[in-house]
Symmetry: none
Subunit: 201 residues, 4 copies
DNA sequence: GATGAATGAGGGTTCATTCAT
DNA sequence: TATGAATGAACCCTCATTCAT
């Protein structure tokens, strides 16, 4: 009789070993052998739980996207005003556990593969659209439509750009500073384009 | 009799084939065989002109960084005021020939390798610092030091973030729109933190 | 409480799944996983009933040889004259249930392995010798010894050759036609070399 | 500058090593490593000259079929009458160099794979049809159409069956005996169904 | 009796590199 | 200067086998 819950445990072990390996050795040097050794398991286990290497990488990226979602959702629930919602989105993206160097590196590595892998592209697109629509929903209540769209694109790009800078380790950019830069961008944008918030019908 | 200028020609052929290959097939699928076939040359030629594959990739990244520099320098020369200098930097980063999808993809691919390759990291750091110091030099003339530093970091991150978005092809973000988003960021930032430009001593 | 007859049932299930798999996917693609999935059982079951994969393959070949024997014996019992015995042997080899494409394919696959596996060779040799001695016993009563031996070898080769042709699917050779070709061979052979049958002492 | 004629040499080396390996170790145990070691070359060479393992196996089977064709053609050219043509076909199939145990084993191994490989099937079909049409062409001149067709099928099956028997090594069947059995089959068949040869118009 | 999770050796393949020409 | 034949290590993947349950 098979052990219950083993599958979830093994999948988590392997995904975490994958993240660690990509961070430390790079995606190009991340092999099934290294991942499985890191997880303390045999190489065959990857096929057992993820079909093949691509399946493991996809599951890893999905896991990162899910972590992000889990960081966003409760913060968004707690927000009452559009301004609070925007702050929540920024905070969620630079929360301590998410913006670890490890996670940033892995995102950057995946981004480099997105164009070659439809599956990774799909995951990326979901994350992208969710963020975009969350930003737009709040911004539309604070500024005219065209301005809101531009601000949403800019803010999304700024957030990703800050992640990239971290991942490249050129700027020692901690979460607090990133958060403040993003909030600053938002504040100046609102001051420039903002209008009294519309009352919802 | 060795033809004069053959070396420059060959190096250029190979670098361009490398860029095309990374763009179309991804860095992971970019092999020496494919690069050299694309260039219409034999596989041995890479060792001849670049020592090995890593050498070719470094030269390619250096070439991209140099293109960027060549886009920045004349624009910067033509600028008279700090505001013009900043506009020049933004324009240089989103000039049509630089922000082609090809170039964006390749930059993104390299970024994914920077942490594993000291040589690529060095090239990246040079580009990074040059942009940073250019931005800072102009911004310091328009706002207090701490604000200037933050704005420089933000603007640099925004520019890279816009490139990433393009490369990921999630947003159909053309050069004009990117340029406007960045200029908008700059304008609001100046309106918020700006002070009358100091006159140079 | 162990169910009675379970072993026979399981063994039969697995042997039939093996035959089906070899027929449809080829011997090289016939894995324990595929066999057991086909049989609706787990992969571990093979070790339980057959020790290992080789054991299952041997049992499968033995089963085919036994089917052939069961096709031959009653027909041979019913035959009264040497001619009838020969006809019975031919008919037994091209009976509808035995000369199915499935069975032919599997025999051909096993033949390709006989030289590497002493166990398969032994099974093959038994079938071979039985057929040979049956043919010879009848032919000796119809023609001189040397002619009988040659005819036995030829007839045995012809029967196997017809099976091979079927298995290769080059000739759409149905059982009836095969039977007639073999009988024709026999008839002409008897007409040429035959002598009045000796009366058994 | 590449050596001339190297390709032909290498291809031949590898094909012969493949035949030797299949004969001695069986098709299932014939790996690229073993083939290339036998040929005194590295494992990568197979991809260089044959794309992949399947390509090498196909080339090997094609080579065997070609050897057979080269054995048939001159004998057929030298034959003047239909009877001589038939004798030539039989002789060509049991010529010393072709009916070596090595070649028989390899044919039998390939036959076991024909159903899984369209490419091998194609090669087999070509050989099959050529033999069939050669036999039929000669037999039609010696007996009525329906009898000729049956005799052609029977004779082709007999030839393959004799090869199989050799390959299985159950009967120590040398080329001479095989040839005589086949000729005997032909002779009795002609005596039974034969008619005075038609004069060609 | 029966399962299927886990292993790890060995397969085919890819590819950067070397080097004789 | 330039070629491409040849190498062999390392990759991903498959699969027979083992064994705790």
């Amino acid at each position: 009789m098979p052990k219950v819950g083993m599958e979830q445990l093994r999948r988590r072990q392997l995904i975490e070993a994958t993240i660690a390996s990509i961070h430390e050795e790079g995606l190009a040097n991340t092999t099934i052998q290294r991942i499985s050794r890191r997880a303390g398991l045999s190489s065959g286990i990857v096929a057992h739980y993820f079909e093949d290497k691509a399946g493991l990488l996809e599951a890893t990226m999905r896991s990162l996207a899910e972590d992000l979602r889990l960081s966003v959702v409760p913060r968004l629930r707690a927000a009452r005003t559009p301004e609070e919602r925007l702050a929540a989105l920024i905070d969620a993206n630079f929360a301590a556990d998410l913006s670890s160097p490890e996670v940033e590196t892995v995102w950057l590595s995946f981004w480099g593969q997105v164009r070659q892998s439809p599956n990774l592209a799909r995951i990326q697109r979901i994350y992208e659209r969710r963020m975009q629509s969350n930003l737009l929903f709040a911004l539309r209540r604070l500024m005219p439509g065209p301005d809101a769209e531009r601000a949403a694109k800019g803010l999304a790009a700024l957030i990703d750009g800050l992640w990239v800078k971290c991942a490249l380790r050129q700027l020692p950019l901690d979460g607090n500073e990133a958060r403040e830069i993003a909030r600053d961008y938002l504040a100046t944008s609102l001051a420039q384009h903002g209008q009294p918030p519309r009352s919802d019908p």
